[in-house]
């Protein structure tokens, strides 16, 4: 057996599987895709040869939302096993069906080019203070690209970046923003492309080191997770990393941020990376409820039980993704909220896409807003 897989089985405690099928019952994908079962994949890993596992299309169907891990009575870390499986599958030429013809993956791989001179900071206007060198760095992520790629479905993920900088500025921080920042590599990693993930990571680490930053703030939970968990696994990093909701929450506690009132009923979508991957549930809620007069209605399934936005790493978007999204949006709508507060650009793209289509019923349509944007807009004096 492939030694990497063997190790992953061991590390993820897959041998502990008691075949209860709780994972399958929990899995949002399995709910719609009846051919998909985490348990079966775990058992394929344990019991049969590599190829049987690696060539199984289902290894790409997992959203890595970690819901199963949350519930597994045996404590198996399924998504870690999935990651290794994908890395190994990629090596033998297997790959997922990439959305948008693989345009996103191409973008990321192009970003591995060392001499690239991106023009990715056009959106930074006079009102935003940024710098080239400093203690704190704001990691923008792929937002500028997303807004172009998804211009047809009215997403504006860059608002979150602007809002984050605005908040940092308000807190007296002039963050470093890197003109030659690269994709963090999250999506390449999760689609099994270790080679290019490494290149991106190296480049980012070098650039950040050059800037002199010691602390990195993220608005994107995927970037946050990648820097917090994955980079240290492979590279020597000594940055402090923080999500913007953590920054906001702390500032609110310290009384550094004063917010205007907003008379709205809202609900909140926990991003998988922020929630289950990193355990950040309270900070966003604290931020939201800091706005006077706002009412937060939780969805039926929230926090640890929250449901994913349906797609991960630009692959295997499918009819099941759509069903997951519809169900989740309906759940949001059912809270009688006016606004669905999001905290991840991917959630925004995926939900907007689901709502964009003509057949999407009214019961699954709800206005969305990024948490940071909402906070930035609520800042007093704005």
């Amino acid at each position: 057996m492939n030694s990497k897989i063997a190790k992953a089985i061991k590390d993820s405690k897959a041998y502990l599987c008691m075949e209860c099928g709780k994972c399958t019952g929990t899995c949002p994908v399995s709910r719609y895709n009846h051919g998909y079962s985490p348990r079966i994949l775990v058992n394929k890993a344990i019991r049969s040869g590599d190829l049987n596992l690696l060539k199984d299309k289902n290894i790409w169907a997992c959203l890595t939302c970690k819901l199963c891990d949350e519930r597994c009575p045996a404590g198996i870390e399924y998504i870690d096993l999935t990651l290794t499986t994908r890395l190994e599958a990629k090596k033998i030429g297997e790959q997922a069906l990439c959305s948008h013809g693989g345009a996103a993956q191409s973008l990321m791989r192009i970003m591995t080019t060392p001499e690239l001179e991106q023009k990715r900071l056009d959106w930074i206007d006079q009102t935003l203070k940024t710098t080239q060198n400093g203690e704190v760095l704001y990691f923008v992520g792929c937002l500028p690209y997303f807004d172009v790629l998804f211009s047809d479905i009215n997403v504006n993920t860059l608002q979150a970046a602007k809002a984050s900088i605005k908040i940092l500025n308000r807190l007296g921080v002039t963050p470093v923003v890197l003109p030659q920042e690269r994709c963090c590599g999250h999506d390449l990693l999760w689609s099994g492309d270790m080679e290019n993930f490494e290149k991106l990571a190296r480049h980012n680490i070098r650039e950040i080191k050059k800037s002199g930053a010691k602390k990195i703030v993220f608005s994107c939970p995927e970037g946050y997770r990648t820097f917090k968990i994955d980079y240290p696994k492979y590279f020597n990093t000594d940055f402090e990393v923080e999500h913007i909701t953590e920054v906001i929450s702390r500032a609110i506690s310290n009384g550094e941020l004063k917010l205007k009132n907003l008379k709205k009923v809202v609900t909140f979508q926990d991003p998988c990376r922020l929630g289950r991957h990193l355990g950040i549930y309270d900070e966003p809620r604290k931020a939201i409820t800091a706005i006077p007069e706002i009412q937060l209605n939780e969805m039926a399934r929230s926090r640890q039980r929250a449901i994913c936005c349906g797609v991960s790493a630009w692959m295997n978007c499918s009819t099941y993704s759509k069903s997951i999204q519809r169900a989740r949006l309906t759940e949001a709508k059912d809270t009688k909220a006016d606004l669905l507060v999001l905290s991840c650009p991917k959630c925004e793209i995926h939900f907007q896409c689901a709502m964009h289509d003509e057949k999407a019923g009214e019961q699954a349509k709800i206005e969305t807003v990024q948490l940071v944007t909402m906070i930035a807009d609520a800042l007093e004096g704005e």
Partner: protein, 1403 residues
């Protein structure tokens, strides 16, 4: 399907119908296939031949604005894609040459620097180039067309040049294995006969009486004119063909005819004319009097030959000049010529005379010796008489007559008589009974040169008497042909190739831009040196001179028959002696679509066309502005523009002009000008463009908007016809016109385009005669009735359409053409049976790919540039390639067979052919795969010819590299390909027509006649639409109601079903299987049809309260007027004003022109005017364009109908009734008020109120004007984007009756073609959905213009896209729209394209 490859279409290009007999449906047609000189079965269209063609003549495709080769195809995409040769007859030089030597040919080759080839060509007709290049009398030069420009070409000298430039004698030394032939006499005739016989493989032996071959060339032409070395070269060449020459063997002495007959199959007698004539005057026997040839015989070979001090040579031929110049060189103090006629009649070559004169030789013209006198038997002098010229004699020259009493004497010590020779063959008659002429020459058959004794032929001077070298050569050549026939036992005369006709003078191109250039003069030996030596005087052309001289050739005959094309044509397709062919056809009906020509604007001479530069026709502008045009898309102004371009269009050049006898509107020119103005604006954004026009007739769909666009772009329109265009001396063109103020004005332009009238095509009258159909007053084909029977000619079974019946645009022509097709089909029997398909065992392709690569040389087309073997070796290294090899022509039948064998042998399951473009042979290779059971879609072509070897000719290494890359890409692609299968759909053969106006009825009738069941669904109670309510139609003035009733009667009696008062409820299904649900008083019914025709018409604009409508009772619409005209309630009307464009060409109603109203108003005006009523038509330009309409317009003006231009709303005054109309008329500086007691609003056509509903029901999109949108504005006017749903008549856009009727028939044709088969085969390249990945977002359906994708609900709320393969056209835009990758295009799948990219960049 492409017309060039349609199995049912046989194309006769370059052909003419020359005879038609019989009646429909039994026409017997005779077609003349004009010779193309290229065997089209063999021609691959590779394009090698023009690269070697030396002839450059006007390219008619580029409207003579650039040049093409004599072997050509009209344009690169031509169908059929074959070459042909432009031959216009025998060029004058060749025609006038007795031996038919192809001078134009070798001159053309000289111009290309192909001297060897030129010489080779020369020697095809003449083995004596060195000789003839020096001593020929060159009749070719006398007829050279260049003399009309400046001076004839120095043809003979060019011939000498190619002979001189021969470095090494080409010695063919063939094997002669045929019969032996005897030739007697080694003069030019005999040697020529021997040469041509040897070339045919016979073994000729030449018997020569003297000890040297060459005849007079050797014995009597002085060396300063024909050096021995030159003669020897020709003799050596002849001998190299295996001709045996036996000198010193005289006939009659050393051998006899009998001997020869015994040993040889045939005999040629080329005995010459050895007997010299004398003058027959007193004193010829004196010492010092010589015969010319006798003298030269000696003098040529003996430079010590004694001559007198003062010598006269009598005669005017070349021998006389030769003699006198020889005498001079031998030391005579004075030598001169005595000639009885004038210089003009002198037969000696001009250059000879000139050279002689230069050498100081005097020629006494019009002088004739009367006697020679002497002393002691020695000459002392000669008495001569002066002559004058009388009437022409038998030779055509004026006869010299002695002037009495003008005798005078000259003192001399030598006289040479050079007055000619005669043949004397009488010595032979002793032995054989030869028939002789009264001149003592052989009597021979003039065509075959056979004497009275079979097998014995004669030619040269012995037959003709003394003649020229070239004539002797000609005789030898002719005799060789006869001897060949004689020996083969073939009739000597039958089918003997006749001399080709001389090219007609009018067919000879003399380019306008041709610069005069004098003939190149031959460098001569220094005069003083020349006079003293026997060195050759004429020095010959240098290479540069020869090139320059050859460039002067006009290429009179088009093709020069240099035969270079034959050499490069790999498939041996070129047949220079091809002849016209006649083909007889039996046909059931005939469609005439002979199109139009345009008036040569030279006829409107005031506009300076061809007199001044930069004046073009609109067709020329079309070519010029094309990047593939003569000047690559730029105006060839010939000057640098300092300011923005100034450009004028002059409209109606010839059109609507009695003076040119063109009483019609050419219909397309306004739009064409607007289009050209926009094209110019694109190219020259700052250009000032002015259009001079009479009326802008922008009457078609989208035309008005197009016109407005040009206005927005700043094109200026000036009403009026310029009086003239002149050039101001500095290259500017000045247009004189009447300006807006009515004053004479001038405007300056850099270039002018003339919108020349369209006129009946050349030969249309003759063809009408052949067909037995009538021509109308304008010279176009007459149709039965322009409005109701526009496609029928005056003869049953002969249909006329397109511009053959009058000018029209592509849209209307295409509609008419389809309409004519359905009419023609009514005379034809049965459909062709489908070909039975054999069941073949299918190759299993499930395993890993096993790719075979086959690389084609395409003759030299690929292999000349690309290293084909290298590509094959490379291909073998590519992944999954198990076999690779190359073929000379992969498309050939043998190669295809071999490929099939390879597939079996190597168990190939994927095939790549590296060859030409897939557009040419993809299908035939696919057929090959199918034949051996391999799915035809497991195949790819690497285009290494069109996109590699042909476009990288100068970079063979890089091209080879690219070819490898292309093959690598193809292999990568083919590895990812999967099998595809054709699907068939059954079709219902019934048709539903929506709308029972005349359009719907016409369409229904045509379909019924073609055997389809038709239901017409009409929501109203009455059929006939608007036409039912018309008092009459133009131009025939038939009653609208009668027309409707007749159509209705035809429809019902043909078995059509008319459902009136019936509403459409729902339509579902797709092409071949539509379910139509209708509702009437009787309730709902549902039925199935295969196709649906929308003929729902349009509605008339409701003026509301505009123009006093509703307010004044006497303001009515034109439809209301029609009612009055029918009911006759017009007695109290005295004066009528028509308001045109009410609800047209504006923001309210129809944004475009409603097309019918001008003509309708004129028709109505004529009605009223004929009743004595005053009529004024207030118009915004009079748009009459249909057949006969312009004449009707004239008639209205003749009748006194007033046409008043207006803009905005005219003012109507009156209390209860409209009493007067006032319109401002700035041009005559007054407001015009006309008293009226009736105002008629010519209301426009607007889309029917329910068109939006119908659009949704049928999914047929509407354009911005809300009329239904056709498939293609030009090429698909009656189809919609929805397969199986068609459009005709006013629901697409306003039409007049004739156009609606044509469209109705056009639709019938399309429907008939669609439903004529039981099954529709669907192309397998369609989109396909993986449902699992489909989000059901509908973006694919949104982008699909063909409505091929539908969202289908799978379960509660879950939708997936479904592709209807019957509707999918395979463009793949849906794939681009899909966010997830669920949809893909078969055969062009993302992974297949990505594989190509990966392969491309991996190297």
């Amino acid at each position: 399907m492409d017309v060039g490859r349609h199995p049912n279409i046989e194309i006769f290009a370059n052909s003419e119908v020359v005879g038609v007999e019989g009646e429909a449906p039994d026409f017997k047609v005779k077609v003349r296939r004009k010779s193309t000189f290229v065997d089209w079965d063999k021609c691959t269209g590779c394009g090698e031949c023009p690269t070697v063609c030396p002839v450059h003549i006007k390219d008619e495709f580029q409207l003579d604005l650039s040049k093409r080769e004599a072997i050509y195809r009209r344009y690169p995409q031509a169908v059929p894609n074959k070459f042909l040769i432009d031959k216009r007859g025998s060029p004058p030089c060749r025609y006038s040459c007795p031996a038919g030597v192809n001078a134009q040919g070798y001159i053309a080759l000289i111009s290309q620097g192909k001297y060897k080839e030129a010489l080779e060509l020369e020697r095809r007709d003449n083995p004596f180039p060195a000789v003839c290049g020096r001593v020929c009398t060159h009749p070719c030069e006398s007829d050279c067309k260049r003399k009309d420009v400046d001076e004839p070409l120095a043809i003979a000298q060019l011939k000498r040049f190619i002979s001189d430039s021969e470095q090494e004698l080409s010695a063919p030394s063939p094997e002669l294995n045929k019969e032996k032939v005897a030739v007697v006499g080694a003069g030019p005739a005999g040697l020529s006969a021997a040469y041509f016989l040897a070339k045919r493989g016979y073994c000729p032996t030449v018997f020569e009486a003297t000890d040297h071959p060459g005849g007079l060339l050797y014995w009597a032409i002085p060396r300063f004119r024909l050096p021995e070395i030159a003669l020897q070269r020709d003799l050596d060449y002849i001998k190299s063909w295996g001709v045996e020459i036996k000198t010193g063997t005289a006939l009659g002495k050393d051998l006899s005819i009998k001997d020869l007959q015994q040993d040889y199959k045939a005999i040629f007698l080329g005995l010459g004319a050895a007997k010299e004539k004398t003058m027959g005057i007193e004193g010829e026997d004196l010492q010092g009097v010589s015969l010319c040839v006798e003298f030269l015989n000696k003098a040529v070979h003996d430079p010590e030959t004694p001559v007198g001090k003062r010598v006269a040579v009598v005669g005017g031929g070349n021998s006389a000049i030769d003699a006198v110049r020889t005498v001079l060189r031998l030391g005579a103090e004075e030598a001169f010529v005595v000639y009885r006629r004038s210089r003009q009649e002198m037969p000696a070559n001009e250059e000879e005379i000139v050279e002689a004169e230069k050498e100081g030789i005097k020629i006494h013209y019009l002088t004739n010796p009367t006697k020679i006198f002497g002393e002691d038997g020695k000459i002392k002098g000669m008495e001569c008489i002066k002559m004058k010229l009388g009437e022409p004699d038998s030779s055509g020259r004026r006869k010299p007559i002695p002037i009495e009493g003008s005798e005078f004497t000259i003192n001399l010590d030598m006289v040479i008589m050079a007055i000619g020779q005669a043949a004397d063959v009488s010595f032979l008659t002793k032995e054989e009974k030869f028939e002789l002429t009264r001149w003592g020459t052989f009597a021979v058959d003039p065509d075959t040169l056979q004497t009275n004794i079979p097998g014995i032929f004669a030619g040269g001077d012995a037959v003709t008497g003394p003649a020229t070298v070239i004539e002797a050569i000609a005789a030898g050549k002719e005799a060789a042909e006869s001897i060949d026939r004689f020996i083969r036992g073939v009739d000597l005369k039958a089918d003997r190739k006749k001399k080709e006709d001389r090219v007609k003078d009018e067919d000879i191109e003399i380019p306008e831009e041709l610069q005069t250039e004098k003939r190149t003069t031959m460098p001569l030996l220094d005069l003083e040196k020349a006079k003293k030596s026997f060195e050759e005087v004429a020095q010959g052309f240098s290479e540069e001179q020869a090139k320059k001289e050859s460039d002067r050739c006009l290429s009179c005959a088009g093709c020069s028959e240099c035969l270079e094309c034959v050499k490069v044509c790999e498939p041996n397709a070129i047949v220079h002696d091809m002849v016209d062919e006649f083909v007889d056809l039996d046909v059931g009906s005939i469609i005439v679509t002979t199109g139009v020509d345009y008036l040569d604007p030279k006829e409107a001479s005031e506009y300076g066309y061809k007199r001044f530069k930069n004046i073009y026709t609109s067709f020329e502008i079309e070519r010029i502005m094309s990047e593939d045009g003569p000047s690559a898309g730029e105006l060839p102004l010939g000057k640098q523009l300092k300011e923005p371009l100034r450009f004028a269009f002059i409209q109606c050049v010839g059109s609507r002009n009695m003076r040119h006898d063109i009483n019609y509107c050419s219909r397309i020119c306004c739009m064409n000008t607007i289009k050209d103005s926009l094209v110019l604006k694109e190219h020259y954004p700052d250009a000032n463009i002015v259009v001079f026009y009479i009326d802008i007739r922008a009457f078609g769909k989208g035309f008005e908007e197009f016109y407005n666009r040009s206005l927005e772009k700043g094109v200026k329109y000036i009403k009026g016809k310029p009086s003239k265009v002149i050039e101001d001396g500095s290259g500017n063109l000045v247009i004189h016109y009447e300006n807006e103020q009515g004053h004479s004005g001038q405007m300056i332009f850099d270039a002018v385009c003339l919108s020349s009238a369209l006129i009946p095509s050349r030969g249309c009258r003759e063809l009408a005669g052949v067909l037995g159909v009538d021509i109308d007053d304008d010279g176009f084909y007459k149709n039965m009735e322009p409005a109701t029977a526009p496609l029928e000619s005056t003869k049953k079974g002969v249909l006329v359409c397109g511009c053959a019946t009058g000018p029209k645009d592509i849209t209307d022509s295409i509609a008419e053409a389809s309409g004519a097709a359905v009419k023609a089909a009514c005379f034809l029997e049965g459909h062709e049976l489908p070909v039975e398909k054999k069941e073949i065992e299918q190759v299993d392709v499930s395993g890993p790919p096993r790719v075979g690569v086959f690389v084609c040389h395409c003759g030299p087309n690929i292999s000349k540039v690309v290293d084909v073997k290298g590509v094959v070796e490379y291909a073998k290294t590519l992944p999954d390639v198990v076999f690779a090899e190359d073929y000379t022509f992969a498309c050939s039948e043998t190669a295809q067979h071999q490929i099939q064998e390879r597939i079996a042998e190597h168990k190939l399951n994927r095939v790549v052919v590296a060859a030409c473009t897939p557009k040419t042979h993809e299908m035939s290779f696919q057929d090959s795969l199918t034949a051996v059971g391999l799915n035809p879609y497991l195949f790819d072509i690497a285009n290494i010819r069109n996109q590699c070897s042909w476009v990288h000719q100068k970079e063979p290494e890089k091209a080879t590299e690219k070819a490898k890359e292309l093959v690598r890409m193809s292999v990568a692609r083919v590895r990812k390909l999967g099998p595809l299968f054709m699907k068939e759909l059954s079709v219902n053969r019934d048709v539903a027509v929506i709308g029972a106006g005349i359009t719907g009825l016409r369409c229904g009738i045509d379909l019924l006649q073609r055997g389809f069941k038709v239901k017409i669904i009409e929501k109203k109670e009455l059929s006939g639409g608007l036409v039912r309510h018309l008092s009459s139609i133009y131009p025939s003035f038939r009653k609208g109601r009668n027309i409707v009733e007749k159509l209705l009667d035809e429809f019902t009696s043909a078995g059509g079903e008319l459902l009136t008062s019936t509403e459409l409820v729902d339509v579902t299904g797709y092409v071949g299987n539509f379910q139509v649900k209708v509702k009437s008083a009787k309730g709902e019914t549902e039925f199935t049809v295969g196709a649906i025709v929308l003929a729902t018409g349009s509605e008339l604009y409701d003026p509301g309260e505009r123009f006093g409508y509703g307010k004044y009772p006497n303001v009515i619409t034109n439809m209301e007027l029609e009612q009055k005209l029918i009911s006759g309630e017009i007695d109290d009307i005295k004066s009528v004003a028509f308001f045109q464009c009410v609800g047209s060409r504006g923001d309210d109603g129809n944004p475009g022109c409603s097309r019918y109203c001008c003509q309708a108003a004129i028709k109505e005006a004529i009605h009223l005017r004929e009743k004595g009523i005053d009529v004024a038509i207030l118009n915004r330009g009079v748009r009459v364009y249909s057949k006969g309409a312009e004449r009707m317009y004239r008639k209205a003006r003749e009748l006194g109908v007033l046409f008043l231009p207006y803009d905005g709303e005219p003012e109507i005054t009156g209390a209860d009734k409209a009493e007067a109309v006032t319109i401002p008329s700035p041009d005559i500086d007054a407001d015009i008020t006309i008293p009226v007691n009736l105002v008629v609003l010519s209301v426009g056509m607007v889309p029917a109120a329910d068109s939006g509903h119908l659009s949704e029901l049928f999914k047929v999109p509407r354009g911005p004007d809300k009329f239904f949108l056709e498939r293609h504005s030009k090429f698909g006017p009656v189809e919609t984007t929805v397969e199986g749903v068609f459009l005709c008549g006013c629901c697409q856009f306003p039409q007049d009756i004739g156009d609606s009727i044509s469209q109705a028939s056009a639709v019938a044709s399309k429907v008939a073609a669609l439903l004529s088969r039981d099954k529709i085969t669907l192309a397998p390249i369609t989109s396909t959905v993986i449902e699992e990945y489909c989000r059901g977002c509908g973006r694919c359906a949104e982008v699909c213009e063909f409505r091929a994708i539908e969202l289908v609900e799978k379960e509660n709320g879950v939708f997936v896209a479904q592709v209807n393969e019957a509707l999918c056209k395979g463009c793949g835009t849906c794939v681009a729209a899909c966010p997830t990758g669920a949809i893909d295009l078969k055969h062009f799948r993302s992974e297949q394209i990505e594989a190509q990219l990966e392969a491309l960049f991996e190297g």
